[in-house]
C-alpha cells in the first residue's frame, strides 16, 4: 500500500564518484571526482568504503550538520555482507540500520527513512549507498584485470556513492512511497540486469498508478535507477501493454556515461541512481523546474552462488514520490505547483 508521509524533506545531498563517471556528461555536477578510482586506498573494497564516507561527510558539511544531529543512518551496497557501507560509515557513530535491496537500496532507504521520520521515530535520517566497478565486477563476474569481453546487454557498474540527509526542511519533499514486491520472471543472464529488473519496475509503478488513481501524465517525470537502454525499453513496453504508457521516463543508467564511453547499455550499481538523481535531477527539483517526480530504484537480488546453482534473477523496485515545495501544503494537483528559478 502507498504510505503517505508528512514533514519529510531532502535536506542535503552529496556525491563522490570515480574517474570514468567524472569524464561523462554529468562531470560538472558531482561534488568529488577521484583521480584513479582508488580513493587513496589499497583495495577496491576499501576504496568503495571511502567513497561512501566521503559522500556522507560532504552531505553533512553542505547541510551543515554534525553527525550527532542525525538520528539514523540507513546504508547498503553490493559487496558481500554490505561491508562497504559498514566500514566506510563507522566513524560517524550514527545509529546504523543496514539495508539490502541491491541497486534498489536508494529508494528502499529513502522509503524507510521517510516513513520513520513521518511516524516520529526519527527527526533526521541519512541514506547512503555506493558501488564500485572493480569491486562489483570481480565479485559478481570476473576481475577486470582478466579483460573479459562484455556482451552487448551488459551495463557498467558505476563507481560512486551518494549521501542524502532527510529531515524537517528543504525544497523537495517526499510525499509518499510504495515498497516493492519481489518479481521473478525467469531471467537468468548475469549480463542482462535490465531484463531482470524491468518487470519489477513495471510492477511497482502499475501498483502505484492503480492505487493512487493516477497515470504517467500526472507527473513531470518517472525516473528509474539503472534499467539501461534495453531494460528501459522492456519497462516501457510492459507499462504500455498494461494500459499505462510512460512517455516521460528517464533512466539514471542512461545518463551517466557518454556514447563514446563504452558503457554498452549504460550505468548500473547502487551508486548509479544515488549519484545521478542527486547530482542531476535534485537540483532541477530544488529550483522548481521539476515539481512532481516518481523515483524508482530497481535491484536484482541474485548472488554469484545463486547463479551458479541455476537460480533465476529476481528483482525488486521501491518507489518514492517527490514534490517541489518548501512548505507542507498536502498533495497538490500536478501542474499547479509554482515554478521559479533557483535562488
Amino acid at each position: 500500500m502507498i504510505v503517505k508521509t508528512k514533514g519529510v524533506y531532502v535536506m542535503s545531498f552529496a556525491s563522490a564518484v570515480g574517474t570514468k563517471e567524472g569524464e561523462g556528461p554529468l562531470k560538472n555536477r558531482f561534488d568529488y571526482i577521484d583521480k584513479d578510482d582508488r580513493f587513496g586506498m589499497n583495495t577496491w573494497e576499501k576504496a568503495e568504503s571511502e567513497s561512501a564516507r566521503l559522500a556522507l561527510s560532504l552531505a553533512l558539511s553542505k547541510a551543515p550538520m554534525a553527525p550527532s544531529e542525525v538520528d539514523l543512518l540507513l546504508a547498503g551496497d553490493l559487496e558481500n555482507q554490505c561491508v562497504a557501507s559498514c566500514y566506510g560509515l563507522l566513524s560517524f557513530e550514527i545509529p546504523y540500520l543496514g539495508i539490502y535491496g541491491a541497486c534498489s537500496n536508494l529508494t528502499e532507504g529513502m522509503a524507510i527513512a521517510s516513513m520513520l521520520i513521518s511516524g516520529g521515530a526519527a527527526r533526521r535520517a541519512a541514506v547512503v549507498t555506493s558501488s564500485h566497478n572493480c569491486a562489483a565486477e570481480r565479485q559478481y563476474r570476473n576481475p577486470i584485470e582478466y579483460g573479459g569481453q562484455r556482451p552487448p546487454t551488459a551495463q557498467w557498474t558505476v563507481t560512486g556513492a551518494g549521501g542524502y540527509i532527510l529531515g524537517e526542511r528543504g525544497k523537495v519533499k517526499i510525499v509518499d512511497c510504495l515498497v516493492g514486491v519481489v518479481q521473478d520472471k525467469g531471467q537468468k543472464d548475469i549480463s542482462n540486469m535490465g531484463a531482470a529488473m524491468a518487470p519489477a519496475a513495471a510492477d511497482t509503478l502499475l501498483r502505484y498508478f492503480k492505487e493512487s488513481g493516477t497515470s504517467a501524465k500526472d507527473y513531470d517525470l518517472i525516473i528509474t535507477g539503472d534499467l539501461g537502454i534495453h531494460g528501459s525499453e522492456l519497462f516501457k513496453d510492459l507499462c504500455k501493454q498494461s494500459g499505462y504508457p510512460v512517455g516521460n521516463h528517464a533512466d539514471c543508467g542512461m545518463l551517466m556515461y557518454g556514447e563514446n564511453q563504452d558503457a554498452h547499455m549504460g550505468g548500473s550499481g547502487c551508486g548509479c541512481i544515488a549519484t545521478v538523481f542527486g547530482a542531476h535531477f535534485l537540483p532541477h527539483m530544488e529550483c522548481g523546474k521539476l515539481t512532481n517526480v516518481l523515483l524508482m530504484a530497481t535491484g536484482a537480488l541474485m548472488s554469484k552462488d545463486s547463479i551458479t546453482q541455476g537460480q533465476n534473477i529476481p528483482a525488486v523496485a521501491h518507489l518514492v514520490h517527490l514534490m517541489y515545495g518548501e512548505n507542507e501544503t498536502g498533495s497538490r494537483p500536478c501542474g499547479s505547483a509554482e515554478r521559479r528559478n533557483h535562488e
Copy 2:
C-alpha cells in the same frame, strides 16, 4: 535515541530448524525439525531458503492469516546478497524490505517493523531471518566437508529460521527500541565472534540504561543473541566495569545446544536468536512468567574479503524492549505487571 512504540504486538511466531538443533535441549519447542538439514533441496543455500519459507508459512498458519494480510516483510540472512531470504520468501508476494545486520537481523527487523507499525506506515509486518550451518561455514570459513579443526572460541552456526508477525494484537507487546551504533574494538579473529560482538551489545545496553534511567534489575531478563560462553563473559565484564552489572542475562547461543553436542562456545547465526527467543522465551512471556525483557541481537559485520584484506570485525546490536500485556496500557513500572498462567 530510544523510540517508544504503541500498539505493536507479537501476533505469531514459528521456527524451522535443522537436525542438530532438533537433538538439543529445546527439541520439543520447535515447530519443524528437518531430518537431514537439506529441507528437501539439493544445495545448502536452497535449503536455507526453504527453512525461511517454512518459518513464515507456519507463522502465518498459526496466526492464522493470509500473506495478503501482512503489509510488509523485513528479512535478511548471512548469505552473500541475502539470497536465502529473497528466494525463500518470493512466493508470499508481500512488499519486501531487505535488511542486513548479520546476526542482529532479528532485532533490526523487529525495531524497524515496530517503528513503522507504531507510526502508521503498516498494520502488520513479518520479520524473518535464517542461517544454515553448511551454507555459512563454506562461505565465511571452509566447507564443512574439509573437516577443518575448530578453535575453542568458535561457535556453531545454527541451521534454522524464525518467522515473526507483528501487528495489532497479541500477548507480548513491543514498547520501545534502540538502534545500535557500529562498534569496532580491533577484534580480527574470524573464529571468535563473541569477542567481536560483546562490545556492541554492551554499548547498546549501556546507552539504553543511561537514556531510560534504568538498570538491569528493572527487567526480568536481558537476552542476547549469540555471544556464546566467551562473548557473554566479556559482555558482562564490560557492563560491570561501566557500573551497570547484569546478573539476569541469558544468551540464546548458550541455550541451543547441549554440552555433549560439540558446539564449543554455543550457537551463532541469525537463526539462533530467531528460533531460541521465539521457541523458548516467547512462550514464557505469553503466559506471563516473564513480563519485562530486553532483547538484543548482535551482528558481526565482516565479510570473507574484508578479513582477507586485514580489516577488523565491527559489530552492532539492536535492542527491543518487550513486555507481557494483552492491552495497551502505556509503560508500566517494573514488577507491577500482573503475572498469570497460560490460558
